[in-house]
Amino acid sequence: MAEGARLIDTPCWTDLAGADLPWLRLHRLQAFERLSAEGLPARGDEAWKYTLLGDLGERRFRVASRAEDEGSEAGSSRPYRPQGHRILFRDGRWIIQGSTLLPLPAGARLVSLREAIAQQDPLLPEMLGRIATLEGQPFAALNAARFDDGLLLYLPEGCVLEQPIYCRFETDPTEADRVSFPRLLVVMESGSRAQLLEEHLGANGSALTDLLVEISLGEGAQLFHGRLFDSELGDRRISGIHVQQARASLYHSFALMLGGELCRNDLQVQLNGEEASALLEGLYLLDGRQHLDNHLRVDHRLPGGRSDQFYKGILRGHARAVFNGLAVVHPDAQHSDARQINRNLLLSTGAEVDTKPELQIEADDVKCSHGATVGYLDQEQLFYLRSRGVEKQSAQALLTLAFARESLQRLPRGEFTDAYDQIVTDALAGRIVSRPEPSPDTRKVSDE
């Protein structure tokens, strides 16, 4: 077994895909220089105020070799619902044996990033690294310096992909201290439509995944981006999602976050065209010592843009959730409509929520609002159910599920919505309802 290296140590450049391409070497070197200059987030860094990385910077991680990944067992048996293009990533690498691609419309490209680099796809020098901002994003810089594989999705004008694309990310369950740097690039020309579904599943106790996704949406393009985190406790996932939107495009992101010890998402959306819309939604169900940090930023740069951030969460145990939503309305972005909601349900005394819905507005003809709540189940609703003979535990379960379903109802109807609903229902039944805690001390629930 090879010796591990620290995250900020100089990578072995020649091992990486496309090491001989000058533009790619420059891209990686610049990213690495930025990372070296800025370092990993430390105490006192405002963007990481509530998420301390502890010894992550000092830990020695190992990148799995290609041979190891390809040789290992097939992954999770979780079914794919509905059918679609299936891509399995193990330790950040596209595994051919575990992947099944359906026929694609003419002109569309869905290939592994490694292959695209090998074939010198002309799109790459033009787009790769051009969407993500590395400034103040140390993990994006880390990925840019060290990525080796991932995915390239290109849809030409008017191309509609009916079947969703599943990207299932797994880490080798037998290895400790694995690190991987998957990189996704999605370029959709005007009028194209697609669904991209990330699934972050099972892992061992100490893996780190540093994902970087770059998305460019042309005029009127529509992308649904589902993100499911359902890995084992102990797993760490840090992702940066960077989106650029042209006129009248729609980016709809829905993150369902259940798993992992540490999960950090930096979602940055640039509304660069008029009338562009971004719907950023999330639902988290946390327990144990899970730590989840969602940082969202939407930049309204031109008139008529719309953004809607809607994150809800249910926390138990000693879980901690951080929400930092930011909407920036630039001086020319008149008629912008920006909304932010973050609602949290705290079900135990050890849990903690730190939320900061932030607005920066430099234009006057706008409609912006934000709201945040943190609290327990509504006592009146509980009382109502109890007065109608519903048992206390069932009443709590019912209200908790209703709280979660408000998020799910914002999803387009379809088979995967049902799948998400099932995951949430199971999770709530398994993790949250079966281990009831006495209701918090001051609340006098009438049935005692």
Binding site: E46, D354, P357, L359, I361, H370, A372, T373, V374, Y376
Partner: protein, 492 residues
Amino acid sequence: MATKTPPLEALLSKGYSQGFVTEIDEDSLPPGLDESVIRAIVEKKQEPEFMLQWRLAAYRHWCSMQVPTWSRVHYPPIDFEAISYYSSPRARRKDAPASLDEVDPEILRTYERLGVPLHERAALAGVAGARNSTNVAVDAVFDSVSVATTFQKELAELGIIFCSFSEAVQKHPGLVRRYMGTVVPYTDNFYAALNAAVFSDGSFCYIPKGVRCPMELSTYFRINAAGTGQFERTLIVAEEGASVSYLEGCTAPMRDEHQLHAAVVELIALDNAEIKYATVQNWYPGDAEGKGGIYNFVTKRGLCAGHHSKISWTQVETGSAITWKYPSVMLKGDDSVGEFYSVALTNNYQQADTGTKMVHIGKRTRSTILSKGISAGRGQNTYRGLVKVGRKAVGARNYSQCDSLLIGDRCGAHTLPYIEVMRPDAQVEHEATTSKISDTQLFYCRQRGIDAEAAVSLLVNGFCKEVFRKLPMEFAVEAQALMEVSLEGAVG
């Protein structure tokens, strides 16, 4: 939107009516700051040894600190060596004036022009001054020193101590020593450390057990001298079951250069005590091009030390080139209550980064935040707040609402609420909206013959109504008038 009307132009030139300079002899220390300046201040004020030691400790700590840069306000670096840290009107006699008759008549005239009643009898008879319908005891602070405190005798009969900070240091050193720096220690922040080192005067107020203060107490701050900074310190202690309502007003002359005002206010409420603190801040905001104006960098904090205590901040911020302050409440006592009501208006090139901190420590503590920000011209208005519910704050409750109104397309409104909750039984709600002044409402007013200027003023006042209602009556009227003046030129 509306077109400019001639009367508006006329009104515009009126601008800041408190911007005159009083010609009097000033006794100032030369600019610059080192330990000798602090010793000189202590000597001038004949302060006891513990004050000197405290100031020196603060100064040494300040020297080790960096100027904070996290706020959303922008200004060229302040040259702390160019400021004179002490300035007082030269006394006609050697010792402090024993009665109003001995105060320089120029200074009295200044306060008369500002509408601050320093003549007790006149105020009682209800003839002179602008806010004289009820009794208000006033401590008037002129540059670095307090020049007069009214109604001291009447208050003393109830055991209430209301005097300048200097007088308190001389006459009640025990109380000062016991409470000063307990809520805002000199290590708290850069400007609090600076203030602790060089503060020259301010107000001190002590309400003994069970006493309800029968009249409004008030401090009126006036910066007059050029090239000086004003550093005052206010300390209010309400003993068990006591209650007091306190007002603060401030103005300064119009000058091209910026002047620094770095104050510290500490409030302490013991069991069942209640303190209401209202500020109408009208420092000189600078001209329409952003030249001049006061930098108002203030630390205000209250400690609800006892159970069932209550501290309420109300502020109307219309002045200052830059306002940077967060009146906060530490809710330590069980069942204590904190409130924050704020209107902050920025016009022309004004900047405001203001808000509050509500730190819930005790059980069943409650807090309410109501913040209204108005940005016009090129004004930048930021609400920054923290609501923290600690592990032991069983059943804590907070409701926050912060709304922003934008007038014009060159201004900015920013909202940064931090919410940290560690209790499942806490209930924390935050709501905020940002919008421009409603065209429909404007149209409705215009259609009924109300001109644009008056319509905007009407709508803005409506927007602020909930906060103004919290002000004592005469201040509410003043605040409303102030809004109108401050908004001039914003429409059109």
